[in-house]
């Protein structure tokens, strides 16, 4: 039932539950407001929005007064004007008149309102209260003098980010806001408060003093840095990004610090080089490009196209991925295109199907609404895909989703007050090496290595299979688990494996039973697990769990946090899957070597080491910094006859290249990505001297021309529209319009509906993209996978297979770091090595941005505080980490969230990293940790 309300003689109809403020906005009447924010609880404390309601003697706050039918509101009476003027005068009493030097000048609500509604002159003649300016975190600076006490920042920390890092202290006119004692703003969301703060009290340290807001041009775009792909607003001056913000009214009102500040770490090299006599010398672009085309042609002629390989980084756009495949797979006929140096290519038809099915089963954070249980598998969503993490917390009712959009009805005004965290009954179990952030009472953390997690989910699948077969009921959960655990490959009983007691013990047995039968289960699989060699086993198990639970009549929402950047785009466009080994058939055998289509980076490196891969094109990444088994990769890269690197910086690998070609940063290339949930998102490019069309296209054109092939696919827009037609994407948008939108599902759906069980066409984005394999390499065409995992018949077979230990990806991996038993040397202690990307709040991307002393700027080794205390290791102290393969020296970072018994060494820092220590991601690497010499004082 709609309610009629008249605001200043304009009548509108609104939904029950609409506030006067929102109704007024619908009626086109603007009411000034400061403490109200559409995505925070309603506070009603600034008192600027007071309005007159006919029949009520006192003025009412528009932000918190709900409309009732027939209500008559006046916002332009003298009484209202006086009240506004009084509030504004009071806000200015202690506010410095420093607008000319304030970073918020020009985008300050207070400034605007005083101009519009305030008095000309102040009458306060006394001394103002003052505070010292202070940096309250790596990205945020606080000037308390300017604070108007709206508490948006504190509400954000309490309700949205749950970081509780900034709060309100003291009372009355002594009130101030700031970090809680001993804390600073270090959550992955800290930058949001700079956008929330209506004045210049909390400002962005990266943007400070760079420009005036009115000099900035706004361009809608999407964030390329993690698979969530949030809609963003690029704010540029002279074409260059100076600041990234959220879009007004966006479905994603918050972005993480990586997305907000990560752009500032971009560096761009503009000069191509070629190697001559061991030295890289600068050459014009054309010379370099011709050289690439020539070398590729010669090598292909000499050794067949299989002797050419491509490795592609995770920040490639769909258009680049398509063009790369088109040129290398179709034109050059070499199928070996791998995606990132750590993602294993599917080795069998089975594995490819698992991957496809997983994409189709992929749920959304929002689907988790109503879950009574959630299983986090090596997942720390808040750190690895932050905004998805927030949505997850909101879906589970742990974080507030705010007061409602303008025009939207809101719940009980101020309902967020009954403590967002209290309201939810969901039980979250986090299984993994790290306690997920933010800690909450609903979360139980069971420390486990990734291998343990893979093993556990397999046991769960088996448990469920048994339940479905009706045999499981006879056994106790613990027994089933145990039986499988000991039978399970590669994870137990091996020398040096850390096996947490919880995973072994009965404790988990009862948990297994719970996850089998809970009403609605969310399974969130972390990016590091998805990006590791364990992935196929884990995906298969999760799908089997979904299938079995579905057969048992309970709901499951799987959510895979696909690695970084455009990982999902690469999967959808068939980069990884490529052509089957069998399919590449005769020619590969004829030439007697090379790598077949669908080979992953590891196979490529094996082939290179064996002299079978002679040319390698590396696009947009630094394999040396990102790979496992670095020594071997280095050797392989040295061995290839032709190494071409195209990347935005001259990284270590580029330093070895025979030809290096520059590339714009991901913020300078126009294109599209596919986000975690399957939307196509558009990326706008900032202006660089190299233009907004990826320099890859120029190179590929030269390569094609050298083959006498003309290509029109050398502009992002053209490729996009080509893909649109080819895959039958049901959308009108061109790339530009895509960037303006907030992402579009390729099937034209609004993406709003849907649940984890629906694997229909709805949310399958590049559904036809699997055809891409055919398109790009005219080989095996993928059948649309049957909805196999929904059918008990299928999973039964698979479950039996699992019972025999035949399914899953982690089969029989040897333990590389295992060593001869013997008493360990006294100073060295054994740990399980964990590696992966560092979380956002420690992100490598931000490392050069803030200049903050506590954000590691170079490689670090993270060790649990418990272990550190036992070994008397202190923060910053120099440690030597040694495995069977090698050793690195680096500074210790003490962690509250890492499991004892393990150390974490992140990928992504330049120079030797975990790749020196670990041979691969699927086996347990044992390392010894030793204190070396000086470091910080303990």
């Amino acid at each position: 039932m709609a309610l009629k309300v008249t605001i200043d003689n304009r009548t509108v109809e609104v939904e029950p539950g609409t506030t006067v403020l929102n109704a007024a906005s619908q009626a086109g009447v603007y009411i000034p407001h400061l403490c109200y924010h559409r995505k925070l609880s309603i506070k009603g404390s600034c008192r600027l929005c007071l309005i007159e309601v006919e029949g009520t003697p006192k003025l009412q706050p528009a932000c918190s007064t709900l409309v009732c039918d027939g209500m008559r509101v006046k916002t332009d009476t003298q009484q209202v004007k006086d009240a506004r003027r009084a509030v504004l005068e009071l806000l200015l009493l202690n506010h410095p008149l420093d607008c000319p030097v304030c970073d918020a000048g020009g985008e300050c609500k207070l400034q605007d309102y005083v101009f519009w509604y305030g008095r000309g002159r102040g009458r306060f003649v006394f001394e103002k209260r003052t505070f010292a300016r202070e940096d309250v975190g790596p990205f945020v600076s606080r000037d308390m003098n300017r604070c108007i006490h709206c508490t948006r920042c504190a509400r954000f920390a309490a309700e949205v980010s749950l970081a509780e890092d900034i709060g309100v202290f003291e009372r009355g006119d002594r009130t101030w806001v700031g970090p809680y004692p001993g804390k600073e703003l270090r959550s992955p969301f800290s930058g949001n408060v700079t956008e929330l703060c209506p004045v210049g009290a909390l400002t962005d340290r990266v943007f400070r003093f760079k420009a005036r807001s009115w000099e900035l041009t706004d361009t809608p775009s999407s964030c390329p840095l993690c698979p969530v792909g949030c809609p963003t607003l690029l704010q540029t001056r002279d074409g260059r990004i100076l600041r990234i913000r959220t879009r007004e009214k966006s479905r994603t009102p918050w972005i993480c610090d990586l997305g907000r500040f990560g752009f500032a770490a971009r560096r761009e090299e503009t000069r191509p080089t070629v190697m001559e006599d061991g030295r890289q010398i600068e050459v014009p672009w054309d010379v370099a490009a011709q050289m690439v085309a020539g070398r590729l042609r010669t090598i292909s002629k000499e050794s067949g196209p299989e002797s050419i390989g491509v490795v592609c980084g995770t920040l490639a756009t769909n258009e680049e991925l398509f063009a790369l495949q088109h040129v290398f797979r179709n034109v050059l006929k070499c199928g070996s295109v791998s995606f990132g140096p750590r993602t294993p290519a599917p080795a069998s038809h089975e594995q490819r199907r698992v991957l496809e099915d997983a994409l189709r089963a992929q749920g959304r954070a929002g689907d988790l609404v109503g879950c009574d249980s959630v299983l986090l598998l090596c997942a720390d969503p808040y750190e690895e895909a932050p905004v998805a993490g927030l949505k997850l917390l909101q879906a589970l009712g742990l974080a507030s989703s705010g007061a409602g959009e303008v025009g939207e009805a809101v719940g009980v005004v101020g309902a967020a007050r009954d403590s967002a965290r209290g309201g939810s009954a969901v039980r979250i179990t986090a299984l993994g090496p790290r306690r997920p952030e933010p800690p909450s009472v609903q979360t139980t953390w069971i420390a486990a290595t990734p291998q343990d997690c893979a093993d556990m989910v397999k046991r769960l699948a088996l448990e469920l299979a048994n339940m479905c077969e009706g045999t499981g009921t006879a056994r106790t959960h613990g027994d089933t688990g145990k039986a499988q655990a000991t039978g399970g490959p590669g994870t137990t009983g091996t020398a040096g494996t850390l096996k947490s007691a919880a995973v072994e013990g009965r404790e988990l047995g009862s948990e297994l039973g719970f996850w089998s039968t809970s009403r609605k289960l969310g399974i969130v699989v972390g990016g590091e697990l998805v990006g590791s060699s364990l992935v196929y086993g884990v995906l298969a198990s999760v799908l089997r769990v979904c299938a079995a639970r579905s057969a048992l009549g309970v709901e499951t929402v799987p959510l895979f946090l696909f690695g970084s950047g455009n990982a999902r785009g690469a999967l959808e466009l068939g980069v990884l899957a490529g052509q089957s080994r069998a399919g590449s058939g005769g020619r590969g055998d004829d030439s007697g070597g090379g790598v077949s289509d669908g080979a992953g980076f590891r196979e490529q490196m094996d082939a290179a080491a064996g002299g079978k891969l002679r040319a390698l094109f590396v696009f947009g990444l630094d394999p040396l910094a990102e790979c496992y088994d670095r020594a071997k990769v280095e050797e392989a890269l040295k061995k290839v006859d032709f190494l071409c690197v195209q990347s935005d910086t001259v990284n270590e690998t580029a330093g070895m290249a025979h030809v290096y070609l520059p590339l714009q940063s991901v913020f300078g290339r126009k294109g599209s990505f596919v986000d975690l949930e399957g939307r196509l998102t558009g990326l706008s490019a900032e202006q660089s001297p190299q233009g907004e069309e990826s320099l890859l296209f120029g190179l590929l054109r030269t390569v094609c021309e050298a083959r006498g092939v003309a290509t029109e696919l050398d502009k992002a827009e053209a490729i996009f529209s080509y893909m649109k037609g080819r895959y039958g994407w049901n959308l009108n948008e061109n790339l530009k319009a895509l960037s303006d939108s907030e992402g579009v599902f390729p099937d034209g759906s609004d993406g709003r509906s849907g649940n984890g069980q629906d694997v229909g066409s709805k949310r399958v984005p590049a559904r036809a993209a699997s055809r891409d394999a055919r398109a790009a390499s005219d080989s095996v065409s993928w059948k649309r996978p049957p909805r196999a995992w929904l059918l008990p018949r299928d999973f039964e077979g698979e479950a039996r297979a699992a019972g025999r230990g035949a399914a899953g990806g982690s089969a029989g991996a040897p333990v590389r770091g295992a060593r001869e038993p013997g008493p360990p040397p006294q100073e060295a202690e054994e740990f399980v090595l964990l590696s992966g990307r560092a979380g956002v709040s420690r992100s490598v991307w931000a490392r050069d941005v803030s200049g903050h002393p506590k954000i590691p700027k170079s490689l670090f080794v993270e060790i649990s505080r418990a272990d550190a205390e036992r070994l008397e290791i202190c923060e910053g102290e120099s440690l030597e980490v040694t495995s069977a393969l090698g050793s690195v020296r680096t500074a210790a970072v003490l962690s509250e969230s890492l499991m004892p018994g393990a150390v974490f060494v992140p990928f992504g820092f330049p120079g030797p990293g975990p790749g020196v220590l670990a041979g691969s991601g699927d086996e347990v690497t044992v390392v010894r940790v030793r204190k070396v010499g000086v470091g910080a004082e303990c």
């Binding site: 009603g44 008192r47 918190s64 009071l90 806000l91 009954d418 209290g422």
Partner: protein, 428 residues
């Protein structure tokens, strides 16, 4: 007044002990309620008695109880407001320290009426003795089966928690009290929703003052008609008056509502100290507008005081003799409110500090006539525009003293100082 109801045990040795309270008829009302009455009958009795809240607003207690939704499943709570922080108010303290069992009995009966099984007493942090005695009383009552799982052997169970405040006046405001109880900053909440529907931990909650709840046993014991026969129409029952200031015998007096101010001051409180003349009275605590000596015949009840432009408030009668500087009074009290403002909303947070500085200016001879008008203007920018009623209360000292004693402000401005102070700064 011959019969004392609320103070009947005060002054008896060991009055705070259970045995004393029982020996004087205590807990019989609870027994009666449990054995003879239905919960709704208790509520009806309270309604019929005409009892109005003693915490300040004078809201009819039975009506407040009836706002609690009957059909909402899950817990509901009762909170006893024992934060007593209003300047001039010290009546609840007498009960807390001397007769805690009377309060507990009132709470138990009220909880029975409201189907509440968990109650909280939020006691002012500084009341160390009161808290200690209250806690002991709870323990004694639990031991004796008067509180706990089966009160007096019935199916009605009640857990009472005593929670000590941390020294903030605003936590006496009912919703700030709830926040504080929940472990948060004591900030008043937006209303609606009202606590009766969304209160403590989001549950329906009734909040009543100590004195209010202490009236309940005698209403149940002697019947609502008896209670209604005390006092005047619409203002029934006994009332504790905390008389302070320039009287010979300051203290807490129990008298029926409707007693005249003159009677209270001159017959009970011993008249004005040192035989001086009466100048002004704040009849209900620092949040009630001053009235002058000419109004001394006003009846001390909710409606009569409202009729003369003031209020009964908490019943704290602050008496000022003819040597009192009204600017100084306003300054002192405004300072208090400024200090106690929670700082949440703009007018109260910022405005009071400004008023204090203007008042200081006038009091110490730096003020101007324009400052007096500015004070009124600021006050009207605060009054009625804040989130909680404290904003209204906070400007009352300045507003009402200017209204009634503007000439005194003007003479400060004219003479460049306080006419009531000698050069040494002493009262004349």
């Amino acid at each position: 007044m011959a019969e004392k109801i609320l103070l009947k045990n005060v002054g008896i040795p060991g009055s705070e002990r259970l045995e004393t309270y029982r020996s004087r008829g205590g807990y019989r009302a609870l027994e009666k309620a449990l054995r003879e009455l239905k919960p709704s009958e208790v509520t009806d009795a309270v309604k019929k008695s005409g009892l109005r809240g003693r915490g300040g607003a004078g809201f009819p207690t039975g009506l407040k109880w009836s706002f609690v939704p009957k059909d909402v499943p899950g817990p509901r709570y009762l909170c006893c407001n024992a934060d007593e922080g209003e300047p001039g108010t010290f009546k609840d303290r007498v009960i807390l320290e001397n007769d805690p069992h009377m309060l507990l009995e009132g709470i138990a009966i009220s909880c029975f009426a409201l189907s509440v099984v968990e109650a909280f007493i939020y006691i002012r942090g500084e009341f160390a003795l009161g808290a200690e005695r209250l806690e002991r009383a709870v323990a004694e009552a639990e031991e004796a089966g008067l509180l706990g799982p089966n009160v007096l052997g019935s199916d009605f169970g009640l857990k009472v928690h005593v929670h000590r405040g941390a020294g903030s006046y605003i936590c006496g405001e009912e919703t700030a009290l709830l926040e504080s109880l929940e472990g948060k900053r004591g900030l008043p909440r937006l209303k609606p929703p009202f606590p009766a529907s969304v209160g403590l931990y989001g549950r329906p909650t009734v909040i009543n003052n100590v004195e209010t709840l202490s009236c309940v046993p005698s209403i149940v014991q002697n019947g609502p008609e008896w209670f209604a026969s005390i006092g005047t129409k619409g203002n029934t029952g006994p009332k504790l008056f905390a008389v302070s200031g320039h009287v010979e015998r300051p203290g807490v007096y129990e008298l029926p509502l409707g007693v005249t101010l003159r009677e209270l001051l001159f017959e009970y409180a011993g008249g004005i100290r040192g035989g001086r003349g009466l100048k002004a009275v704040m009849p209900g605590g620092s949040s009630t507008p001053v009235i002058t000596a000419e109004q001394a015949d006003v009846k001390m009840d909710f409606d009569s005081l409202a009729a003369v432009g003031s209020a009964l408030g908490s019943g704290a009668v602050i008496v000022m003799d003819d040597a009192t500087c009204m600017v100084e009074v306003a300054l002192g009290l405004t300072k208090f409110y400024r200090h106690e403002s929670c700082g949440q909303c703009t007018p109260c947070r910022e405005g009071l500090g400004w008023m204090v500085r203007l008042l200081e200016g006038i009091e110490f001879g730096r003020g101007s006539t324009a400052d007096i008008d500015l004070l009124l203007e600021i006050a009207s920018g605060i009054s009625g525009k804040t989130l909680c009623p404290m904003g209204d209360a906070a400007v009352i000292p300045a507003q009402s003293t200017i209204a009634r004693f503007r000439d005194e402000y003007e003479s400060h401005v004219r003479t460049g100082g306080c006419p009531f102070k000698s050069a040494a700064g002493k009262v004349e």
